[in-house]
């Protein structure tokens, strides 16, 4: 499983990096970024999904 943020949709709402700081970080404008290569370990999938379901802009995608 891989997680990514669509940079065109992200508006810097700041929810992802608050909920899952081990998966998401932020750039100097406050937009969300995926830390590392976005590969999700089994134990991080749940928090990635939680971040996804809290993003008001629907900017987070989790793919096989």
């Amino acid at each position: 499983m891989k997680v990514r943020i669509d940079a065109d949709l992200c508006q810097g709402q700041g929810r992802c990096f608050s909920i899952a700081p081990n998966i998401f970080g932020f750039d100097d404008l406050g937009n969300g970024v995926v830390l590392g290569d976005g590969d999700l370990a089994d134990e991080t999938i749940e928090s990635a999904r939680l971040a996804q379901s809290n993003c008001p802009e629907h900017a987070i995608f989790i793919e096989e």
Partner: protein
């Protein structure tokens, strides 16, 4: 306030300054969602109010058909010629693409998580000082003695203005946000002291540059050119107006909730780890800010015949109560795990200060309940709510319980 007829039907004659809306807008919105998801009014020269999340989202994300030239509904509206479009008077909130992105890029670094999080110790110290001053009193006013001072001090410091001027700021905010009904000539007169004060501050910062937002804006460049002073002035004004009333309102509404829901107060006191999710639920349930747009050209949108220069009242608080998006939308669920609320807006105009607002709200609540783990509303009838596009409790008398 001018005397206006009371609203009888919000579907055809909405008015966000009507006493019924000001006191308790939620049943009005619920009713509209059921029978007329986009309400109309002839007031303010004509306007629309989408009451659903889908409607609010559609307008917020559509910068082609709607302009942000002005975001506060009033009787007058600037025409295309009145404002240096697409900059607007208070960039970037008043700017449209493509200029918007440039103006926004300029301010975002100052409000990004890293610099904002660094303010935590000083905000905590500020809250502690305010609580220290209140002391062991049996009665505390959560608004007048506490909440209102927090964002005022934070923004004042950020802009680099003198501490002694904080009372003046609250007056400026009041003028800007609550005088929307006044005639245009009166508005210009009311704004004169604000203009004078800011001009003085800009001059003072030009002579004595220092590490603050005002100096940062004076030094900022677009395409190798310093910003026009009107741009600097506008962004300073925006910071002051958008940064104070809003956060202050979020804090008072949250405290009001805790004073009237002892079980939620007890849970937060006993389970401090709940705070981050609780803060998001406070923001969803009591979102303080409603924005506005103007229709660019005659068109049909959301099934409504919209005319050029019609207002759209952009009710993020109403969107946050839409059951189509939030299960049990009208229930405050302190540990709501999935919460895609839009308290800070949607799309390119997402509140630039959202990281700061969240931080202030969290610390204000944490410190208050640490100092007063049990309190209740002393006199529910005495609570007053701000009118206009920012909703929050103003007078908030608490009884401290032992």
């Amino acid at each position: 306030m001018t005397d206006k007829p009371l609203v009888k039907d919000f579907a055809t004659d909405w008015d966000h300054t009507d006493p019924q809306w000001v006191t308790d807008p939620y049943p009005i919105w619920e009713d509209l969602r059921k029978r007329c998801p986009v309400a109309h009014t002839e007031r303010y020269g004509g306007g629309w109010f989408p009451a659903t999340h889908a409607g609010v989202s559609a307008v917020a994300k559509d910068t082609e058909h709607f302009t942000s030239r002005t975001v506060v509904v009033g009787n007058g509206r600037p025409t295309d010629e009145d404002l240096p479009a697409p900059i607007g008077l208070v960039p970037p909130i008043s700017s449209d693409p493509p200029f918007h992105a440039i103006a926004r890029r300029l301010v975002l670094p100052a409000f990004a998580p890293a610099p904002v999080n660094a303010l935590e110790p000083q905000i905590r110290a500020l809250c502690a000082r305010l609580l220290e001053k209140i002391g062991d009193s049996d009665e505390v006013n959560g608004g007048a003695q506490y909440a209102q001072f927090i964002p005022t001090a934070v923004i004042r410091q950020m802009l680099g203005f003198p501490e002694a001027d904080e009372d003046l700021f609250r007056e400026f905010v009041h003028i800007a946000l609550e005088g929307v009904d006044h005639p245009q000539e009166e508005r210009i007169e009311e704004f004169a002291p604000i203009e004078e004060y800011f001009t003085k501050q800009i001059e003072e910062h030009q002579e004595n540059p220092r590490d603050d937002l005002t100096t940062y804006l004076l030094n900022a460049e677009i395409g190798g050119q310093k910003l026009p002073l009107e741009h600097v002035f506008g962004t300073m004004l925006l910071t002051l107006i958008a940064g104070i009333d809003t956060t202050w309102s979020a804090i008072t509404s949250s405290l009001w909730h805790l004073s009237t829901h002892a079980e939620d107060l007890a849970r937060l006191v006993n389970e401090p780890d709940l705070m981050p999710v609780a803060i998001e639920e406070f923001l969803r349930f009591y979102a303080p800010v409603t924005m506005a747009r103007l229709v660019k050209e005659d068109m049909e949108f959301l099934g409504c015949p919209m005319k050029k220069d019609d207002w759209i009242l952009l009710g993020f608080p109403a969107a946050n109560r839409d059951p189509a998006v939030f299960p049990d939308a009208d229930k405050f669920i302190i540990d709501r795990a999935e919460n895609r609320h839009v308290a800070f807006g949607l799309g390119i105009h997402r509140c630039a200060g959202s990281n700061l607002a969240r931080l202030e709200l969290r610390i204000a609540i944490e410190e208050f309940i640490k100092r007063y783990p049990r309190f209740e509303l002393a006199d529910p009838a005495a609570v007053t709510w701000a009118a206009g596009q920012v909703r929050g409790a103003r007078n908030l008398p608490f009884r401290i319980l032992k």
